[in-house]
Amino acid sequence: MTPRTATPALPLGDDALILSHRLGEWAGNAPVLEEEVALANIALDLLGQARVLLSLAGDEDELAYLREERQFRNVQLVEQPNGDFAHTIARQLYFSTYQELLHGHLATGDTDLAPLAAKAVKETAYHRDHAEQWTVRLGDGTAESHTRMQRALDTLWRFTGELFDPVDGLDSVPWHDLRATWTTRITTTLERAALTLPEGPQRSGWAAGGGRQGLHTEPFGRLLAEMQHLHRSHPGATW
C-alpha cells in the first residue's frame, strides 16, 4: 500500500483515526452512563474526519487496515493508551486544543483540506470544551482527582512537542504561533483547574524523530494488531 504520502491528509487522518480507536475502547467502561454517550460522540466525530481525510489520500480501508506500523503518520500522543479517565481527559485536552487551532487555520486557507477543516473545527471546539470542563472538575474536585489529573498531564507532556512539527504540505501553517496560542490556552485552563503546567521536556531525546516520521511507541503495534487482524485475515473480502 503506497499512499500519496505527499498529501497532509494522511498524517491528519491518522491522528483522527487512532484517537477515535482509543476512545472506542472506552465503550462499556466509562465512569458514568452520560459519559459513555459523550465519549462515543467524540470518537464518532473523529472517525468521520478520518474517513474523509484518508479518502483524500487513497482508499480509506486500505490505508487503515493494510499499512504497517512504520507507515502511519499520526503523532504519538493519540496512540497513548487510555489509562484512567484523567489520562484520557489530559490526552483530549492537549490534542483537541491543538486540533481546533490547526483546523481553524486550515478552514480559512485554500488547500483541499479547507472544507473538511471548516466542518471539523466545530466538532473539535466541542471536544476541547468537553476536555476543559472535565479538566476543571478533576483538577478542582477532590484531592484524589487532583492528583490523578496532574499526574496525567505530567505523563503526557513529553508527547506535546511533536504536535507543532511542520507537516509536509501544510507550509502555510504558522506552527510557531500555533504553539504559542496552544500554550496560552492550556495554561489558562490549568489555572482555572488549580493545576500546574508541566515543566519537563516536550519530546523524548530520540533524534530519529516521532510519529510524523513513522516512529511510534510500543503500545501502537498492539493497537494495530487488534485493529487490523480481522481485515487482514480475509484478503480481498468486502465487509
Partner: protein, 116 residues
C-alpha cells in the same frame, strides 16, 4: 437515592422510603427540554443526571440531540419544578370545561361572512 421527578413526579408520600444508599448520592436529576426547530417551543424530552448545569447541558446535547433532534436546549434541576397534583385535578381543570364561550366554535356566523 430517590429524587423527586417534577413534570412526571414521583411516588405519593405514602410510598416506602428507599433504603439509604451505601455509596455517595448520585448526581442530581435534570429535566431536558428540546426545541426541535426554530419557531417551535421547547418540549420535554426526558431527564438525565449531571453534577452541575454546565455538564447537564452538554450531556443533554449528547443524549437528546445526537440525531439532530434540536437547535436549542434547556436543562432544569428536577427539584425546581412545581407540579400540579392529581388530587387537585378537579378544582384545577374542571372549571375550564363549562366555558365553551371561550372557543370560537361557540358562535354562529351567517353564511358568506368571511375573515372571521
Amino acid at each position: 437515592m430517590t429524587t423527586a421527578h417534577p413534570t412526571e413526579p414521583t411516588a405519593p408520600a405514602a410510598a416506602p422510603a428507599p433504603p439509604a444508599p451505601a455509596t455517595p448520592p448520585d448526581w442530581p436529576l435534570w429535566e431536558v427540554f428540546v426545541r426541535s426547530r426554530r419557531g417551535l417551543s421547547h418540549t420535554h424530552a426526558g431527564s438525565l443526571h449531571a453534577p452541575d448545569a454546565q455538564l447537564a447541558l452538554r450531556n443533554a446535547r449528547d443524549l437528546y440531540t445526537r440525531r439532530s433532534e434540536g437547535v436549542s436546549l434547556w436543562v432544569v434541576p428536577s427539584d425546581q419544578i412545581t407540579a400540579s397534583s392529581p388530587d387537585e385535578k378537579d378544582p384545577f381543570f374542571e372549571p375550564a370545561g363549562d366555558k365553551p364561550y371561550r372557543h370560537p366554535t361557540f358562535y354562529d356566523i351567517p353564511e358568506g361572512v368571511h375573515h372571521l
